[in-house]
Amino acid sequence: MNGLESPGPEVVRVRITRTDLRDFATSIGETRLLYLSVRSARAAGHRDLPVPPTYLFGLALRTGNPFGWAAERGLDMARTLHGEQSFEYSAMTFAGDTLTLSSTCGPLTVARSGARLLTRRTTVSRAEEVVARLELTLVCPAAPA
């Protein structure tokens, strides 16, 4: 766990599995065989099941305490919402890939509305290649008067 005292990146290393990708695909209502069947994925020219566009988000939370980094910085997680999310892709990833997700949290900022905002940036690498960059912004509304 990365406390305020040690502001280095929080690093997660994950091997992508077919089972996890199928569970994710099913939970988002995906029915295209390309995302469910290795044979169909290969027929479409992929080396294995593709990782869908938003799947990387959850991988960055695979720590003992997924939102611990936000709570440590003083966000009341009981009221905090996901404000924004972005992904930039430079390569697709597939089942069987081992990915390293390195996340760095920015400072807590306060919007004019009084809402408190916290941004966390994650770089996703496969071996030495950066395959994606993510940015997550949490919003904690101003406390009720």
Partner: protein, 120 residues
Amino acid sequence: MRAQAPEVTPALLSAFAAASGDANPMHLDPEVARAAGHDDVIAHGMLTMAWLGRLLTEHSPQARLQSFRVRFTAPTPLGAAPSLSARVVDPATRGPVRLLLTAELADGTVTAVGEATICP
């Protein structure tokens, strides 16, 4: 392009929480959600974004997707079945294709707005 999301149910949210790794209790525990001022649990923003991602990869092969961003503008309550849309901006211009994305509830509440760029 348009698509209709399935109805949001507690079972759907718990399946998505397990599969996505986002187990924030706001999406799973009605007491936590009520304490935060909601009527009941609300859907994960990332579930809406995953649905929008499906729409994008139906529009173009995923390998062409360069960027994808969404701002969550309102909660998605239980029982909602958001309408999803992706619309090409400036179809005549060259270069990457920009798509504007929205998710909207039946009463017109916009729950997410976003943008994606796709290699031509």
